[in-house]
């Protein structure tokens, strides 16, 4: 069943600390009044322009296998494959905070308001991640309420373009999910518009299936290693 999820704006408003960190400002410097004022402006513009919305579609493992394989360009060994194969439930998802905020960022740069524009861009990226987290959390609640999962299980999302799952899988993901329903399109380079959008799969299953070491060949090229934090959140639950 496909569901459109209206995400509360307030749940996606990024923290000052997250924005300043995203701007490369270390914690010891984050008390700087000027940067904080710019971040406050960015948050205020974010509130005026962000329109978070998500879409979600439960699918079977067999259906997802085709989507995961995409155009046949995945890495030979992807942790996502191992995880979804051991899962109990799979759902495709897409979220966006809308086009208005992207237009506003462009307008600020046009007006030479580079600092606010750049800060808003960071705020919008953080806000999109928070919107994806809200969708993930809501899906977890839904699974528990509908007896498809229990609170001991874990839920994590993965996106094409990361962890050995090639971005070209977006094409089949979009064919199945139709995120155009919430205004997201895909171009020939597998890039979503509005830019501040996230798509992927939400995987539910026993906690153990999500544990993996970041020693895959492609992990060397990854700057973020956010998998470590994500796995830790599961361990902490």
């Amino acid at each position: 069943m496909k569901r459109t999820l209206h995400v509360s704006l307030e749940q996606t408003v990024p923290s000052m600390q997250a924005i300043l960190k995203g701007q490369g400002i270390p914690s010891w410097k984050q008390h700087d009044g000027r940067a904080k004022r710019i971040a406050e402006d960015a948050i205020s513009i974010y509130r005026e322009n962000a329109r978070p919305v998500g879409i979600i579609l439960e699918i079977t493992k067999q259906e997802f296998q085709k989507i995961f394989e995409g155009e046949g360009r995945n890495e030979d060994d992807s942790p996502v494959k191992l995880i979804y194969e051991g899962s109990d439930d799979l759902a495709l998802f897409a979220v966006t905070i809308g086009e208005r905020i992207c237009s506003e960022i462009a307008r600020l740069f046009q007006a030479n308001d580079f600092a606010v524009g750049s800060m808003l861009d960071t705020a919008a990226s953080e806000g999109t991640e928070l919107a994806a987290q809200v969708v993930e959390n809501r899906h977890k609640e839904y699974l528990i309420e509908s007896d498809k999962s229990n609170s001991r299980n874990a839920v994590l999302r993965f996106s094409p373009g990361y962890c050995g799952w090639h971005i070209s899988a977006q094409k089949k993901l979009f064919s199945a999910l139709h995120p155009l329903d919430i205004g997201i399109t895909l171009n020939d380079s597998y890039l979503m518009q509005p830019l501040k959008s996230i798509s992927g799969v939400i995987i539910s299953g026993k906690k153990e299936i999500f544990y993996f070491d970041d020693t895959f060949s492609f992990c060397r090229d990854c700057d973020e290693h956010t998998c470590r934090e994500r796995i830790q959140t599961i361990i902490d639950q």
Partner: protein, 213 residues
């Protein structure tokens, strides 16, 4: 205090209003546009770049200084055109075809302008042919390409190949940037440099185009 030093300091503080006022005063006092540009605005941005490299200041500070720089440049530009003053060099820049991410590219363009280069910004989703046409038309010294998607990185190689085909490679340097790129990738496709941020792009282009070449 010396007018140009004062101008430089206000620029470093990101004070666009005072930079505009002092630039106007410098023009009114008869200082040549090139002197105001080099001794006030570019000198200020150079200090900003140094402080950024040393992590004494951060991106918002640099961008406020850039806004102040533009406030002064807006006043100097008509005079520079009138006096036929050459810029430090010309850079054609864009985000490659299929990619719509332009924040990184915009920041590089801002920093290059701040360092006195003329920047022709082609925007995003720029085809290889458009890069070449612009480089030829503008007699560019440098082509700068940005990509944030691994799927669009191969477009950069196409541009490098077309530059060679158009026999422009002798005079056009090529810089590339974007999150998935590296020095190694730049070398592999035949680009001259990989630039990891706007300040680094200025360093690279300055190395290629020394001011007194």
């Amino acid at each position: 205090m010396d007018l140009l030093r004062e101008l430089s300091e206000h620029l470093q503080n990101g004070d666009a209003k005072n930079v505009a006022e002092l630039t106007q005063r410098a023009i009114s006092e008869g200082l040549p546009a090139k002197t105001v540009l080099d001794g006030g605005l570019i000198a200020g941005m150079s200090v900003v770049g140094d402080k950024f490299r040393l992590h004494e200041i951060f991106l918002p500070d640099v961008l406020l200084a850039a806004k102040a720089m533009y406030a002064g440049m807006d006043l100097l530009k008509p005079l520079m055109i009138k006096d036929n003053i050459k810029t430090a060099g010309k850079v054609v820049i864009g985000t490659v075809q299929g990619d719509l991410h332009d924040i990184g590219k915009n920041l590089v363009a801002i920093m290059l302008r701040g360092a006195g280069f003329e920047v022709i910004d082609l925007g995003n989703d720029v085809s290889p042919q458009k890069f070449i046409a612009a480089a030829e038309r503008e007699k560019a010294d440098v082509i700068g390409m940005s990509a944030l998607l691994t799927t669009t990185m191969p477009v950069m190689k196409k541009v490098v190949d077309l530059v060679k085909e158009a026999q422009l490679r002798e005079r056009v340097r090529i810089i590339v940037g974007g999150a998935p790129l590296s020095d190694e990738y730049a070398r592999e496709i035949g680009a001259d440099a990989y630039c990891f941020d706007g300040i680094n792009a200025v360093d690279c282009v300055q190395k290629f185009l020394p001011r007194n070449r």
